[in-house]
Amino acid sequence: MSIGLHHFLFVSLLVFLCGLFTVLTRRNAIGVLMGVELILNSANINYIAFSRYGGGGYDGQVFSVFVIMLAAAEAAIGLAIVLGIYRQFETIDVEATDTLRG
């Protein structure tokens, strides 16, 4: 069986599910951010697969470059916030930051 669109979609699906599982189970803020990176990557694989097999020209690749750019911005801000939380609470457990809970 030759490699087709479905192969890439299933790889992307598996990566997405791993990312979702990471986001759901981690209580470590950096772990959650890594799960988000996985989810963004699976979306990128989909974009480029559809761009290749759908004959859509360069649109999918351009969008994936935008996604990579936003992921970089998200990582920079997210990790800066994590460091701030660490300085404030001495931990980066996302359950510990419940100061605003009524």
């Binding site: 189970t25 697969a49 097999y53 759908g54 360069y58 470059v65 990579i68 990582a75 990790l79 460091l83």
Partner: protein, 164 residues
Amino acid sequence: MYAALFYFIAGLTVIGALGVALSTNVVYSAMSLLAALVGASGLYVFLAADFVAVVQILVYVGGILILTLFAILLTHQIAEIQVSNRSVGRLPALGLVVLLGLAMGAAILRAPWHVEPLAAATPTTYGIGDSFLNQYLLPFELASVVLLTALVGAIVLSRKELRE
């Protein structure tokens, strides 16, 4: 040969992603993320997206992953994190993920995808640059503003407070 290489790279990606999800040590998770990102870059090469593959390596592996490792090492005492099950336990999360996976897998198999015959793989840099400066000029410029804002924001957030 082509198929074997594809399965090798796809396996690298999926095993890396599984390592991120299941490893109990966050440093090992970061290393697995490296495998997953490099594997995804290999998939882009398979899909004839050479520019995006190189950008993926440069930005993700060279930037985001290094930043993540810095953050891990700056916030010590997290090497011994335990994946506790107070908020969403592993079992409910696994159930949700499996259900979602089955639904999406069925959708992938059943959807009538519109597949065109493959064009020859040509260098994509010219086309992407052309799109950025014509059709996507406004988002491209906005992206610059977003990156600048993120840069300033990250500096403001992570510097030491100035005490009077």
